[in-house]
């Protein structure tokens, strides 16, 4: 199953994009965060009647991202997970675990630490 080409948007367009996807009847498949050279990249993946659609955002680790749980209620789980693992803050989440979704000995294990390679 080859991946479809992704779409890149700015963080300010996120809520509008989520609304648009919801209006079209798309299901939110997942939200994923990855480290790039200096920043973080968020992947919002949707299922549009079986077709996989991926939307990418480039953000800084210190940014505050608007939660899309007002549109997709269950997005709160993915956003809390990213907050716990990467330390990226999501605001206005439907349910907020305050960075403690997982019980971990090390906080924000995926966040860039001093000495990490790019």
């Amino acid at each position: 199953m080859p991946s479809e080409p992704y779409r890149r948007i700015a963080p300010v367009e996120l809520l509008e994009c989520a609304n648009d996807m919801n209006q079209r009847g798309c299901r939110l498949v997942q939200i994923c965060c990855s480290r790039t050279a200096q920043d973080l990249e968020l992947d919002y993946s949707f299922d549009d009647a079986g077709r996989f659609v991926d939307v990418k955002l480039q953000v800084k680790p210190t940014d505050e991202i608007t939660s899309i749980s007002s549109v997709y209620y269950y997005a709160f789980l993915y956003e809390n997970e990213i907050e716990a693992l990467f330390g990226l803050r999501f605001v206005h989440k439907a349910v907020d675990f305050e960075g403690k979704l997982y019980r971990m000995a090390q906080t924000t294990p995926f966040a860039r630490k001093d000495g990490d390679d790019a």
Binding site: V29, C32, S34, Y74, L101
Partner: protein, 359 residues
């Protein structure tokens, strides 16, 4: 005025095979709200991908969970193969499908046993697990392992199934189908079982869609969704039957899984009939440089694998979104307004796999 109190459910509970905690806010024995608390078996397996060579990581991926073990290995390999543009030999694809569908059968049988145990029908639990042993014996015959069998590798599979073994699989599955019919008759026809399952934990089609439910949880609420219809591996060459029901209750979720056992048995027979001769792996050089998203249909529903590589032998990122993670919001919804006594059965009907959820 009714008084609200909080009943802790888990992380240790007789009905839970794995630890999950729910704070159940109850009012007069009715659940008003369920607040989840997870993370008891978080093992940092995604972080581990950054420090294990991508060829070795398949052994870690298949240990994300013991029940879905094979499909985790298969999904990881598929994601890496897509980044590296590897085209597998057809025989390897058919072997993967056969093992994947056997995994689905064993997973559903295991779940049925746990469900029967949850409502106190221990004999039925034992019968389900006795039948499951026949599938685990097939795994042992073909791979050497019963639960985690490490046959998937990047580029194909490590072991072949010869014609004799394929004949044994066909024969055993015909017997399993017959014996399973008796178990099915009890699950779906017995009054005491129906009393514990019918009209319990109803999730409407609209709610299932709004909450992002996947797999049998969604199909039992009338949503026609199955990632196998996208045609990954060789599923596009095998006629696929999507099982759905519309009631959305615990009984419907049970019925969907039981029908899926029959459907998987038929799928394996078709795969055995069509499997070509040839190689079981393709050699490759280099390392993944790029990214991919791959979706599979696990027994519990849609699973997504995301792989990022930069050309080195260590992946930049490996991400798994498991079906139980997707079904958790739907679980919290079906608990609202229900009797405390039905909570264990409702939790079990999403077929929770907490090891998968927390990785």
């Amino acid at each position: 005025m009714s008084k609200r109190s909080v009943i802790p459910f888990g992380p240790q509970h007789p009905v839970l095979p794995e630890p999950i905690h729910l704070d159940l806010v109850i009012e007069d024995e009715r659940v008003v709200e369920a607040i989840p608390s997870i993370g008891y078996v978080h093992r940092g397996l995604e972080k581990l991908a950054e420090t294990r060579e991508f060829t070795d990581y398949v052994y870690v991926a298949e240990r994300i969970c013991g029940i879905c073990s094979f499909m985790h290995g298969m999904g990881y390999c598929m994601a890496v193969e897509e980044v590296m543009n590897l085209s597998l030999p057809p025989r390897a694809e058919y072997l993967r499908v056969i093992w994947a569908e056997l995994s689905r059968i064993h997973s559903h049988l295991m779940w049925m046993g746990l469900l029967a145990d949850a409502f106190g029908f221990e004999n039925l639990f034992m019968q389900c697990w006795r039948l499951r042993e026949r599938i685990l014996d097939l795994f042992e015959l073909t791979t050497g392992g019963r639960v985690i069998f490490s046959v998937c590798k990047i580029g194909g599979v490590r072991k072949d199934i010869d014609a004799d073994a394929l004949g044994i699989i066909s024969s055993v599955l015909r017997q399993v189908a017959t014996e399973f019919g008796e178990i099915e008759r009890i699950f779906l026809g017995d009054w005491s079982v129906q009393h514990r399952l019918k009209d319990i934990g109803v999730l409407s089609r609209e709610q299932a869609h709004a909450l992002g439910a996947v797999g049998p949880m969604a199909r039992s609420s009338g949503i026609v969704t199955d990632t196998r219809t996208a045609g990954y591996s060789v599923y596009h060459e095998l006629d696929l039957e999507i099982i759905t029901r519309s009631e959305g209750d615990c009984y419907a979720r049970c019925a969907v899984r039981m029908q899926e056992v029959h459907a998987s048995i038929d799928l394996i027979h078709r795969a055995i009939g069509k499997i070509p001769t040839g190689e079981i792996e393709v050699k490759f050089k280099g390392a993944p440089d790029g990214q991919s998203f791959v979706r599979l249909e696990q027994p519990r529903g849609e699973v997504l694998y995301h792989v990022r590589g930069d050309g080195s032998k260590f992946l930049q990122r490996f991400r798994v979104r498991t079906p139980t993670f997707a079904n958790l919001p739907a679980l919290l919804k079906i608990l609202e307004g229900r009797s405390l006594a039905n909570v264990p059965v409702m939790i079990l009907t999403i077929d929770p796999c907490i090891s998968c959820t927390e990785r």
